[in-house]
Amino acid sequence: MSHQPCAIIGIGQTKHKKRRDDVSLPGLVREAAQRALDDAGMNWSDIDAVVLGKAPDPFEGVMMPELSMADALGAAGKPLMRVHTAGSVGGTTAIVAAHLIENGIHERVLTVAYEKQAEGNAQWGLAGGRSGGMGAGGIFAPWMRSYIQHSGAPEDIGWKVAVKDRKNALKNPYAHLQLKDISIEKVKESPMLWEPIHFLESCPSSDGACAMVLTNEDGAKRAPKPPAWVLATAMRSELGQFPGRDPVRPQAGVECAHILYDSAGITDPRAQIDVAEIYVPFSWYEPMWLEGHDIAGPGEGWQMTESGATEITGDFPVNPSGGVLSSNPIGASGMLRFAEAALQVRGAAGEHQVDDATVALGHAYGGAAQYFSMWIVGASLDAVAQNK
């Protein structure tokens, strides 16, 4: 498919918090969008189209919020569309926006994702408005147990991920959790929520939003700051349940990763990707996705965590922003992974910047580990080739 390059020239996010009761729902989204426009040196009138994403509407009880947010997003008289793929939606939303640029349909697209979890109850919303839902942790816990058994991983791997991501969050002023005294001891002594997952191995519930301004090559030349380039995008999905399904290493996730690497020209992801923002809402998902997306070989994902390879200073840093374990405005969480990947290759990640990052992976998954969205972004259009 021939297409024109898409550049990320503006990135904005809110300070993620348990409760943002100082702003309305549109006001929260607006805050991130305004920051992205400011970063891009643009005004509302410069935007051609808006692509908005969020997780299920029952989370806040506002149905089709994209309609009532048209003024907050400056979308009157412009194309406005909403994307929905459960927890992966933030990533998918960014990909849909990128495709509008790559296919020459629009020149400047604003893409926004959010969740205001304090307005509702996600566990109740996930159960379709019925009581007694087991929640995401309840769905994922047996798959994490299965991974631990098959890989032979020691039990402290999950605790290590929980500590690493919270320490990273201390370097990210936008991160929700700022747990200055986090430790292995604290994680393993925190209450067991869904065996084997402790409270401190789980993501928080956050109010927050993320936004990006995407444009084409000409737009990137006019932008005030260095762009990040979208080098490849991929989306795959599968049923949440079917006979013979491997929920620990879903086939859709394997295929999504390989189509992504192939289209970016990546043959050795661990060597050619400098930093990854991977959707890890529960600690064990770090090693699980490292293996599930063939960054590590079978049974080797947990060894990357154990050896420190996934630390900011390691050879394959994962979630230097603090990740979903530190901030989880669900609908925005995927876009935050994508945006943080872009911040890294722009050299704009501040204190959690990974040295010399030129190729980054943004990743999101959703539903019963059944929707996958990923992108590779680079500091230049030939960034992958330059990484060997």
Partner: protein, 154 residues
């Protein structure tokens, strides 16, 4: 034949399942709803000088930010269009037939949707002058206005 089986009386237990969503209102919707509690109707001045009621947080045409320049409007206004509700359900604002109407309050350039309480469909007309019938106990919700009523009948 088997022995007679005595059916115990059927036992019932009832409980209400509800999930109350919360809303953070922000500086504009907050001002509007707080005004209703105090029996005042608040609009906001748009960038072109027009007054929007209900107030919006941003210029609805351009998306530009608005200064928090609030304007008290009404309480009287003019019906700009309406629809008759013949059989109200329990969720409707009134338990007898009424009109939903767009009402442009005096001093506002946009219309607000609310109920108009008249005895029958032939008693409401576009252009009719109306005024709010406030509830005695107001809590900062749009229902603090029970309905609008014809001005002359107040």
């Amino acid at each position: 034949m088997c022995s007679t089986f005595v059916v115990p009386s059927v036992r019932h237990s009832s409980h209400v399942i509800e999930f109350p969503y919360t809303r953070s209102l922000g500086p504009v919707y907050g001002e509007f709803l707080t005004g209703l509690r105090d029996q005042r109707i608040i609009g906001i001045r748009n960038r072109d000088g027009s007054v929007l009621c209900p107030p919006t947080e941003w210029d609805p045409k351009t998306g530009e930010a608005l200064a928090l320049d609030f304007v008290e409007v009404g309480p009287e206004g003019t019906v700009t269009t309406w629809a008759w509700v013949t059989k109200p359900t329990r969720k409707h604002p009134l338990d007898h037939p009424f009109a939903f109407a767009l009402i442009q309050l005096d001093g506002a350039d946009t219309a607000i949707l609310h109920a108009v309480d008249v005895a029958s469909m032939d008693k409401i007309t576009t252009g009719m002058r109306v005024t709010p019938r406030w509830r005695k106990e107001r809590i900062g919700l749009i229902t603090d206005i029970e309905a609008f009523v014809p001005l002359e009948s107040k």
